[in-house]
């Protein structure tokens, strides 16, 4: 009984962590900045590869993972300044350009590093509850997803940078008139977004098979979570991941992964139909 209850919680926590970690970076870049970033998966892949390379070069895993996040963040900032910046008012062009970046990144990685990359040992041990044994690292992922949610909330709601960033996204001209340096805000926000994508890759690196196209397996979940979350990502992403996590984990458990995946997508269609502004729109309407 206890074992079954815990295992239900574990399954939910596992799906929740996957949704939050894959969506956090996109929530900032797509949700706040309005760039439909189709290269999101490749920033995740970048985090995975840098983590694995740093780990095999002898760094302890947490440090290697930090490297993965930082490198993805820096590459993101560089791309924002050079390629993305002229495209804020042209969302369809930015879609095309980020898709191009994703193609170049996967094929470039294939050519430069080959079709596979050495994996990393999953850290931590397993623990048993009743007849089931679980990987303790999955609990680390769950804790990390909560930390990421908290970090994004505090950064954008409780710091001066956050106020400037939100002001710039809402009305760049006015923010600039009040002395906010728009260029830096955009570059840093984009960098934080890709850095969080890199962090997602870094955290999942020890649990996956590393190939250049692996980013694609995060992309659907990331977009779905952000869209269901709605325009205000700070308010919406958490509830969206909870709702989708419960639906996905429940269907997975009762009917298997095929129904779980179909059910997730049907749930998204229904939620967007009933709540066109996503969870955040609904919550704002309720509270104001």
């Amino acid at each position: 009984m206890v074992a079954d209850l815990f295992s239900d919680f574990y399954q939910f926590a596992d799906v929740f962590a996957f949704l939050i970690l894959s969506a956090a970076g996109l929530a900032i870049i797509f949700g706040m900045m309005g760039v439909i970033n189709l290269a999101h998966g490749e920033f995740i892949m970048c985090g995975v590869y840098v983590t694995s390379a740093a780990y095999h070069a002898g760094l302890p895993l947490p440090l290697a993972q930090a490297c993965g996040a930082v490198v993805a963040g820096l590459i993101g900032m560089l791309l924002e300044v050079t390629i993305i910046r002229p495209l804020y008012s042209r969302p369809l062009d930015s879609l095309l350009v980020t898709w191009g970046i994703s193609l170049v990144a996967t094929q470039g990685t294939l050519i430069a590093l080959g079709s596979t990359f050495p994996g990393i040992d999953t850290p931590g041990h397993s623990f048993s509850v009743g007849e089931y044994s679980f990987s303790s690292y999955r609990m680390v992922l769950f804790a990390a997803s909560l930390c990421v949610l908290g970090f994004v909330y505090v950064l954008f709601m409780r710091t001066r940078f956050g106020v400037h960033a939100r002001a710039t996204m809402q009305n760049p001209g006015m923010a600039q008139a009040l002395g906010v340096r728009k260029g830096i805000i955009y570059a840093v926000s984009f960098g934080i977004g890709t850095g969080l994508a890199g962090l997602c890759g870094a955290l999942y690196a020890p649990t996956m098979n590393l190939i250049p196209t692996m980013g694609a397996s995060f992309l659907v979940e990331a977009f779905v979570t952000v869209v269901v979350g709605g325009a205000n990502v700070l308010l919406g992403t958490g509830p969206a991941a909870i709702a989708l996590g419960v639906i996905r984990a429940g269907l997975n458990a009762w009917y298997g992964q095929v129904v779980g995946e179909i059910g997730l997508l049907i749930a998204v269609v229904l939620i967007i139909r009933v709540l066109p502004d996503g969870f955040s729109g609904w919550l704002t309407r309720r509270t104001s």
Partner: protein, 412 residues
């Protein structure tokens, strides 16, 4: 009357000359072989060793004087794992380039996409992958291993060694479903029982629920038919959760070289039956590996797909030289004799006339806690007998169908 025959004769003369010179030209013109392999996209990990296998064989054969004294010209296109592109490129190869032989295709879906296009021409097609078996088509030669070679060996051994309760984890497309069906069919006479069967959509990479379902069902061993890099993430996740249940699979290690990608002991306790894996250490195998490594020193692993791609060209050379022709019907007459074979690095292998599939020397391999591969058992040469047994006989008729244990040829 007389004048007319004379005229006709005069008119015919230069025509003969043209045919003659064309024939002479044909004798020195290179043999065009079309190759369709995915060397970019998700399947690049398999497509690249396949391309290397073909390139190595062509270089060796050309270096020793080619086939029937003619050099081979390899024309390679990259369908990028897209079945529509497979069809487009197959048409281009067959109709525009008029290749003498078509080789390639990785997934069963890609093979089934181009087979009808090949069937409309008089060109021979060689499929170089191990697969779920059952294609009865006179235009196709299969050089990879099939279930009666990989599963009729592996499954009884697993049942005897570990027990009768089996849990199947399979990719949700034709290979996964058909191989799962093969598993059920083979387990029944052994008294085996499928205690759980899970189909996973391609691209799914998270397996916490599957791992827990397995622990609940308490199987004696796992029948692993998960496909692709995303689904391979099952192994590190299961290992981290301490699943520790023996696994059997027709596609792991020899094909996906998971033991070279994941750190030990992730692949420990995996068992597979294979005609080729790089750890095979017979003198012929060692010699082959040395030549491969000399040409492609950075290859992560020489997998069975790459090996089969290499063997396919030598098979074609033998067939063409025995037939003294590249014509499909002439080549099939050689196959019909029943002794059309070559000495491959795995051993002597022969094409079966009824199914046009290839016999293979099968060995059972296991992976230890250091991810090292050991040969556990030598099954000897196993014929691709299943199609012939259920009534496919390409020497008599050509149904161009794919049969499965649940879809057998009509009884005559």
């Amino acid at each position: 009357m007389k004048r007319r025959t004379l005229l006709a004769g005069a008119a015919a003369l230069p025509l003969f000359n043209i045919i003659d010179s064309e024939r002479a030209h044909a004798d020195t013109k290179p043999i065009k072989i079309g190759l369709l392999e995915d060397i970019s996209g998700d399947l690049a990990v398999f497509g690249i060793p396949k391309l290397h296998g073909s390139q190595l064989a062509v270089e060796e054969i050309n270096g020793k004087g080619g086939i029937l004294g003619r050099q081979i010209e390899l024309m390679q296109l990259d369908p990028q794992g897209d079945n529509a592109r497979y069809q487009e490129f197959a048409r281009r190869m067959l109709q525009k380039e008029k290749v003498d032989l078509l080789i390639g295709g990785i997934t069963s879906a890609s093979r089934e996409a181009i087979r009808p296009i090949v069937d409309r021409t008089n060109t021979l097609y060689i499929y170089t992958n191990q697969y779920e078996g059952g294609v009865c088509d006179a235009s196709m030669i299969s050089v990879g291993a099939v279930p009666e070679q990989q599963l009729s060996t592996l499954i009884p051994w697993m049942v005897e060694k570990f027990g009768k309760r089996v849990y199947t984890v399979a990719a949700d497309y034709n290979f996964g479903h058909l191989s799962a069906e093969w598993g059920r069919t083979l387990l029944k006479p052994l008294g085996g029982q499928v205690v759980g069967e899970e189909f996973i959509p391609l691209g799914v990479s998270q397996f916490a629920q599957t791992i827990q379902n397995i622990q609940k069902a308490k199987p004696d061993w796992l029948y692993m038919l998960n496909v692709g890099a995303a689904q391979n993430s099952f192994f590190p996740q299961a290992s981290a959760a301490h699943l520790d249940i023996p696994m059997g699979s027709p596609i792991k290690i020899m094909l996906g070289f998971e033991h070279k990608q994941f750190p030990a002991p992730v692949m420990a306790n995996m068992y597979a039956a294979a005609n080729w894996f790089e750890e095979l250490d017979t003198p012929a195998a060692e010699d082959f590996k040395k030549r491969w490594r000399a040409k492609f020193p950075k290859e992560t692993y020489i997998n069975d797909m790459g090996y089969n791609a290499y063997v396919a060209l030598y098979m074609y050379k033998m067939l063409a030289e025995r037939a003294k022709s590249l014509n499909k019907d002439d080549i099939r007459k050689v196959i019909a004799k029943g002794d059309a074979g070559i000495d491959a690095p795995e051993g002597h292998i022969v094409i079966d006339p009824k199914s046009q599939h290839t016999s293979h020397h099968m060995r059972l391999l296991s992976v230890d806690k250091e991810n090292k591969v050991h040969i556990v058992k030598d099954f000897g040469v196993i014929q691709p007998y299943w199609l012939g047994q259920v009534g496919c006989d390409l020497t008599k008729s050509n149904p161009k169908e794919q049969y499965t244990p649940d879809h057998l040829p009509p009884k005559r």
